[in-house]
Each structure stands twice: as structure tokens, then as C-alpha cells.
Amino acid sequence: MMECCYIKEVVKGFFSLCTGMRVTMGNVLTRPTTVQWPRESAPLPDRFRGHIMLLADDATGYPKCIACTSCARNCPSQCITVTGKKPEGAKKKMADRFELDFTKCSLCGLCVEICPVGALDFSRDYALASYSRNDFNSMDLLQELGSPF
């Protein structure tokens, strides 16, 4: 009786080891999940939230923002500074200054949701690195789009 159990145990142990080795060999034969950044990068999920950015009006190419300051007033971290005025001859106000203090932003998305004209969205820019946080505490979001002023 004892002998039979002992042999069974040894054989069982041996096969369980083989199972383990099969698993690791399977791993070797599947594609590694590692991505060689920065030469290649993993696909971003659709709902990825980078820092907020201003969207442009397709017709004029200028920001859609009408400088209503809803976003700045609703931001729980108070990290948006926006001022605006009317360009000559125009009906609506436009932002002449739109700054984001990204060091405080919690990416909550309230500003994106509240904007009455849909002028804000999350960017997909994740490769942000700098030696100084001063590079992020007043990011000029108008810079990329240009403004009539």
C-alpha cells in the first residue's frame, strides 16, 4: 500500500512538473507583450485622458472657445485661466488667453463636459517629461491653434 502511494506520488509530481514546463514553453512561443518604447508605442485606449486642449473651428481655424469662463469657474482645482474679448467686427467673444496649470489638474473632465460650445477635449499627448515643473504650471493652450489677436 505504502509503496503504491509513493510511486504514484513520484509519477504525479513528475507530470505536474512537465505541465509547468509546457506552460512556460507556451509563453516563449507567444508574442511578448513588451513594447519597445520610444521606437514603438502601445495603442492608446479610446478614452485616454491627456491634458485638456482647445478644439479649432473648422471654418475659421481659430479656437471655438467663446471665453464664457464656465470651465474656469467649474474646475474643482481652479487650474484654468481664461480671458477673452471681441475681435473687431466679430459678434462673439474669443479667448485671448487660455492657460492651464497642469500640475494641479486632476483630469476630472468637468471642463470638457461643461463647455457650451464643445471647445475642449482631452489630448492624446502622454509623453510629457521635463526637468522643471514650471514647464507645466501655465501651459498656453492657445499656442498651437493661433488666435486672431
Partner: protein, 316 residues
């Protein structure tokens, strides 16, 4: 016997090159195998697919300071890595790579390798004792405790092969397998042998004397720079020798179709080393008491029964 000084120097240079190259390739291979077994890529940056990574690491290690702890036993501390590495130069002597490529044909070659393999443990013990560090000492003590559990089954394995061939010479043993490899007669013995050499080379799942999760780094806790890299060199060279012995004892040495003998020997050696790496990255480390009972209760009876049956069959 006519050994000229020149041939000795030539041999030493050749072996030093082999040991160095072997370690460079194996460290890289180990990291690659580890990576791919965990869905990673392993080293990729230095050279194509990171092949030069070990070289870069080696240069870094050599340029680092060898720190000797204040309370350490200095002579022993410095001697330990050397004791661990030097026997390799002697153990490579009788290893046949092909019918003609062999440093020196010794009629007790097998015995020499087995005996020199023990010196590695001495090196580990010296390192453990000389470091004056409790973790290092525990690592060294474990290496010694471990010997008893694996050396006996290992010797019985080797004895069985010697009994089948009737010779201690590795060359004769390889020649005797011209038609059929020993592994076909002795599959169980082959498995026992592979397990015991995994124990002998201190590799996971039996790396008790290193045991990162329990003993920091075991016997080489206090070593840095050159001392550390010598231990590394020794570990991978012992793997090479153990795999070389397995090749000769079980896999027919240099015999194989089409390719030249040296190529076959190297292919077999590196396949066995790959197998040992495969073990390392699959199995978790067992406990020391589990290992001892495994050695005494499973490896020893298995090899002994195998020995007796082989003796019976041979006597018929």
C-alpha cells in the same frame, strides 16, 4: 607523456577563451529565456537583440571597486572566488568535444570531473565563512548540507554508466554509444542525472545557497565587482561542464548525423543548458528540507534500483 610548456599555455588560453565566451553567451541567453518565458523581450539595447549586453555589464563590473568588509577574513574572502573558478580549468581537460578534439585523454577523466566539481562547494563555503555575514554563512552551510543529498545519487548514476561501458574514460564512454545513446537504455537515470546536476550547479529550483528571497544573495552577499563576476563565471562554467558530462554520458558525445562532431557536442551541451534554464524560470525554489527528503527518499532509491536492475541485466 610529453607535455610541452607551449601546449599547456595554449590549453589555458583556449579554456580561458571558452569560459569567457560561454559565460557571455549564457548570461545573455539566460536573460533572454527569462524574458520570453515571462512575455518580455529581455535585453534589447546593446547590440542586435542585446547580444553585447553581457559585455557591457562585464566591463561595468570589472571597473567597480571590490569592497572587502571590515570584519571579513580577508585571505579567505579573496580566495573563495578563485577556488571556485580555478578547478574549471582542470575539469575541462578530459572533456571530449569530438573524436580528435580533446585536451588530454585521461583514463580516469570522469573521476577527475566529479572530484573537481566538489571544489565549487568549497569555494562557496569559503565565501560564506570569509564574508563574516550571517546570510553568507547560512548560504555556505546550505551548500555543504546539500552535497550529501545529491552526490550519492549522482555517483550511482555515473557508476551505472561506467558499469555499462567498463571504462572511466569519457572518450571510451562516448565511443561505446556509437550506435545507441545511453539515454535510450537509461531514461530514468538521465532524469536523475539532470536533477542532480541542477543541484550541483546550485541552480533554481535548488539554489539554496543563493536564495534571494531568504538570504539576500546567499554566499555572494558581500561580493562586488570582480569577485562577484568570478562567481558568475564559475556558475556558468560549471553548467557547461555538467552539460558536457551529460552529453558524453547519455547523449552519445559527438555522435550524430551530417554535422561534424564538435558541432554536435556543442548543440547537445547548449540544449541541456537550455533545459536547465527552462527549469529555473518554471519552478519555484523548494524548501531545504523538501530538497533533502527529495534527495534521500526519491533520487537515491530511484538511482539505486536502476543500478541494481542494470547490473542484473548486464549479468544475464
Amino acid at each position: 607523456m610529453n607535455i610541452s610548456l607551449l601546449s599547456v599555455v595554449g590549453y589555458l588560453v583556449g579554456i580561458a577563451a571558452l569560459v569567457g565566451l560561454n559565460a557571455v553567451i549564457l548570461v545573455w541567453l539566460e536573460r533572454k529565456v527569462a524574458g520570453h518565458m515571462q512575455f518580455r523581450l529581455g535585453p534589447m539595447e546593446v547590440g542586435p537583440h542585446g547580444i553585447l549586453q553581457t559585455l557591457a555589464d562585464g566591463i561595468k563590473l570589472v571597473s567597480k571597486q571590490l569592497v572587502i568588509p571590515d570584519e571579513a577574513d580577508k585571505p579567505l574572502f579573496l580566495l573563495a572566488p578563485i577556488v571556485s573558478l580555478v578547478p574549471i580549468f582542470a575539469a575541462m581537460v578530459p572533456l571530449p568535444f569530438s573524436e580528435t578534439v580533446q585536451a588530454w585523454e585521461l583514463n580516469i577523466g570522469l573521476l577527475l570531473i566529479i572530484a573537481l566539481g566538489l571544489l565549487n562547494t568549497l569555494g562557496i563555503l569559503l565565501a560564506g565563512w570569509g564574508s563574516n555575514n550571517k546570510y553568507a554563512l547560512l548560504g555556505g552551510a546550505r551548500a555543504v548540507a546539500q552535497i550529501l543529498a545529491y552526490k550519492i545519487p549522482l555517483l550511482i548514476c555515473v557508476m551505472t554508466i561506467i558499469m555499462m561501458t567498463g571504462s572511466y574514460s569519457l572518450r571510451d564512454i562516448a565511443i561505446a554509444q556509437k550506435d545507441t545513446w545511453n539515454v535510450l537504455y537509461q531514461p530514468i537515470l538521465f532524469i536523475v542525472y539532470i536533477i542532480t546536476v541542477t543541484l550541483e550547479t546550485n541552480r533554481s529550483p535548488f539554489d539554496f545557497s543563493e536564495a534571494e528571497s531568504e538570504l539576500v544573495a546567499g554566499f555572494h552577499t558581500e561580493y562586488s565587482g570582480m569577485g562577484f563576476s568570478l562567481f558568475f563565471l564559475a556558475e556558468y562554467s560549471y553548467m557547461f561542464i555538467a552539460a558536457g558530462l551529460a552529453t558524453v554520458l547519455f547523449l552519445g558525445g559527438w555522435h550524430g548525423p551530417w554535422l561534424p562532431g564538435v558541432a554536435w557536442t556543442l548543440i547537445k551541451i547548449y540544449s541541456i543548458i537550455f533545459l536547465m534554464m527552462w527549469f529555473r524560470w518554471t519552478f519555484p525554489r523548494v524548501r531545504i528540507d523538501q530538497m533533502l527528503s527529495f534527495g534521500w527518499k526519491i533520487l537515491l532509491p530511484l538511482s539505486l534500483i536502476n543500478f541494481i536492475i542494470t547490473a542484473g541485466v548486464l549479468a544475464l
